[in-house]
């Protein structure tokens, strides 16, 4: 482990995830959901992943966990490449997932104890019934669920409680890394705060590392150490959370950050909202060169020629834009 101390816990290298879409009889075309994404997540860190719907955030999370077989690219966990059946199986005990919809992600025919205990059963982590039960009660305690609820069914709970069940399930195998796929977007704002704070507490208590996928920029800012902005299958900018909110470099991030609601009307009025024209193009026929050029106010002919390189603009601040030097 010693030589791995400086290594990031999770390294994603040029991950590509294409889906074949039937466009006619015997004709398929690749849908480039994720097209060459690279980033690292350090141990104990939270990386926020933001972007509008359909930009591939969820696919990134699922491809990292190998829920889809990545088209190309590598995922490294703790200095070892996740490849082959045995490695993936082992990886599943280290990396888990919290799902967006607390209603459909829990089996309606299973009790809470069975839902939380499922990963334990799958990986045969408990040698006897008593140990399993104790572990389940411990997990329920971690997420603030009453132990009396163990024998109840998921439909008897509120959205927030259901999401806690989902989190307890993700924690069951004692993972290091959790992909949180919009875990609070289906909840009420008041419940969101509780659940977000619980994520924070669990991170401190259990030393967890998160990939936090969301489209709510305020939530992401609150919980993340670093933030990556995605657009149409590409990461366009990656920087520390404060940095990206204060000094976004990519034109898309600028527009995104200007849309963050500010709870002070005076400041909000002073801020100018950058409104993009047009819609996000279909990933089936993505624009050539820079994916954002069709909506970018600064686009030139050069942007259509080559895919911009994802490079470091200042320390720890990566951006993929041809004209990053000129427009800032």
């Amino acid at each position: 482990m010693a030589e791995n101390m400086d290594r990031p816990l999770i390294e994603v290298k040029d991950l590509k995830q294409y889906f074949n879409i039937n466009t006619g009889v015997f004709k398929t075309r690749p849908l480039k959901a994720v097209d060459g994404v690279s980033f690292d997540i350090k141990k104990g860190e939270t990386l926020g992943l933001v972007g509008e719907s359909g930009c591939g955030k969820t696919t990134v999370g699922r491809s990292i966990l190998h829920l889809y077989e990545p088209t190309s690219g590598e995922v490294w966990y703790n200095g070892t490449k996740v490849e082959g059946k045995a490695a993936i199986k082992n990886f599943r005990t280290k990396a888990t997932m919290v799902f967006q919809d607390p209603y459909s992600s829990l089996n309606p025919r299973m009790t809470v104890a069975d839902i939380i205990g499922e990963p334990l059963d799958v990986h045969r982590m408990c040698s006897n019934k008593k140990e399993r039960e104790e572990r389940i009660l411990e997990l329920m305690d971690h997420v603030g669920l009453n132990s009396e609820h163990a024998s109840r069914y998921a439909h008897e709970f509120s959205g927030g409680q259901r999401q806690r069940i989902g989190i307890a399930r993700a924690l069951a195998v004692n993972p290091d890394f959790i992909v949180c796929d919009e875990p609070v977007s289906a909840l009420d704002v008041s419940i969101q705060a509780q659940v977000i704070n619980m994520f924070d507490e669990l991170q401190d208590k259990l030393g967890l590392t998160y990939l936090f996928i969301a489209h709510d920029l305020l939530v992401v800012r609150h919980i993340s150490d670093r933030i990556a902005v995605m657009y149409l299958g590409h990461i366009v900018e990656l920087a520390d959370a404060a940095e990206i909110y204060e000094r976004p470099l990519h034109p898309y991030s600028k527009s995104l950050m200007s849309a963050v609601p500010v709870p002070d009307p005076k400041i909000a009025r002073a801020n100018k909202r950058i409104v993009l024209t047009g819609d996000i193009p279909s990933p089936l026929n993505a624009p050539s060169g820079c994916a954002f050029r069709t909506r970018c106010p600064y686009a030139t002919d050069a942007c259509a020629q080559a895919v911009p390189e994802f490079k470091e603009a200042s320390t720890g601040h990566f951006v993929a834009c041809h004209r990053v030097g000129e427009i800032n």
Partner: protein
């Protein structure tokens, strides 16, 4: 805090924090109820289905237990006693009539068990024959449905879960089987199985009594009737496997068989139970009319269909012999159908939303 006039602010002094006991009082969850309990509750509210359920239970219990203590047996010709000439007075008795020797015993003060439905043309007690016929019909219905259930569920869940090419191939086979005329297949199979010596193979076993025809009926059910069940289950599983909890199970590293067993089948079980319940009368019906055509059980074992068929010969003189098995078949099939409908109303989540 001074209250401004016209202010909408609420006076905070009017509120006191709730004590723990009060909070406890507010949090009340109803007793945990499973899907199954809810379904049974709804089923019991349906009077028709409940009555039908009791009729089915009653008929089943009668078919199982009555032959144990009934003094007559289904193949005993009462007029025949070894060493004596055949006594024709036992043949074609009406309800609660007695044969000559029985009458003598009654006159002598003995008690003789009555022939409730009389006897048939060979002097066999008709009531016990109807009971045995019911037994055969019910057994055929239940076992055929179980065979259909097992095969249909296995094939359907494999096709539904694997999807892609596996699904395509299995479903084309299903389509082919669907297009075969099933009655023709039953008759052909019964003939083929007899030629191929099924009779000899089952000689001396319990199966001999019910006969090769019923065995071939089971085989036909096993070969043909599972297709609709497997289509149903495939459809269920196709829609269920896209659910997020299945993805969650895959994310924990669960294998396909685990997901099918723990997630997909439990969630489609209500549909499966309902269609099995509706399959039973279907099988009983098939058996009855095959027996009626003479392709059912081997004589002297009766089935409701063969009883009705035999009664056709003396229809004008003894119409009751046709009416009784016909009523029993109708009662069983009707009750099972209505009960199956009740089950569907109670357990199908799409109907009670």
């Amino acid at each position: 805090m001074t209250k401004k006039p016209f202010s909408q602010h609420v006076d905070l002094d009017m509120f006191i924090p709730a004590t723990d006991a009060e909070k406890e009082y507010m949090v009340q969850m109803r007793p945990s109820s499973t899907f199954f309990k809810d379904g049974v509750k709804r089923l019991l509210k349906n009077k028709v289905a409940t009555v039908c359920f009791f009729i089915i239970v009653l008929i089943t219990l009668a078919a199982i237990f009555i032959p144990m203590f009934w003094p007559y047996s289904y193949d005993q010709m009462l007029g025949i006693t070894p060493g004596r000439p055949v006594d024709p007075s036992y043949n074609n008795l009406g309800a609660f009539e007695y044969g000559s020797t029985e009458q003598e015993r009654i006159d002598a003060g003995e008690k003789v068990f009555p022939h409730i439905f009389g006897t048939d043309s060979s002097g066999r007690d008709y009531f016990i024959r109807v009971v045995y016929g019911t037994r055969i019909s019910l057994a055929v219905g239940f076992f055929a449905s179980i065979i259909v259930l097992i095969i249909g569920m296995t094939v359907g869940s494999i096709a539904g879960y694997c999807g892609g090419k596996v699904d395509l191939i299995i479903m084309r086979i299903v389509d082919m089987i669907y297009s075969l005329p099933d009655m023709l297949m039953v008759i052909l199979l019964a003939a083929v199985l007899q030629v191929s010596g099924l009779d000899k193979a089952i000689e001396g076993t319990v199966l001999e009594k019910i006969g090769a025809n019923i065995i071939s009926l089971f085989i036909v059910f096993a070969l043909l009737y599972w297709v609709s069940m497997s289509r149903l289950i495939r459809g269920q599983i196709l829609s269920l496997r896209e659910q997020e909890y299945v993805l969650a199970a895959r994310a924990t590293g669960a294998k396909g068989s685990w997901i099918v067993r723990k997630h997909l089948i439990p969630n489609s079980i209500s549909v499966v139970i309902i269609s099995t319940a509706l399959q039973i009368p279907n099988a009983i019906f098939t058996e009855s009319y095959l027996s009626f055509l003479g392709l059912g059980v081997n004589a002297p074992m009766p089935s409701l269909g063969s009883l009705a068929s035999d009664a056709l010969n003396g229809l004008t003189s003894y119409p009751m012999r046709l009416v009784i098995p016909a009523i029993v078949i109708s009662l069983i099939v009707l009750s099972l159908n209505l009960f199956g409908d009740g089950l569907r109303d109670a357990f199908d989540p799409k109907l009670n939303s």
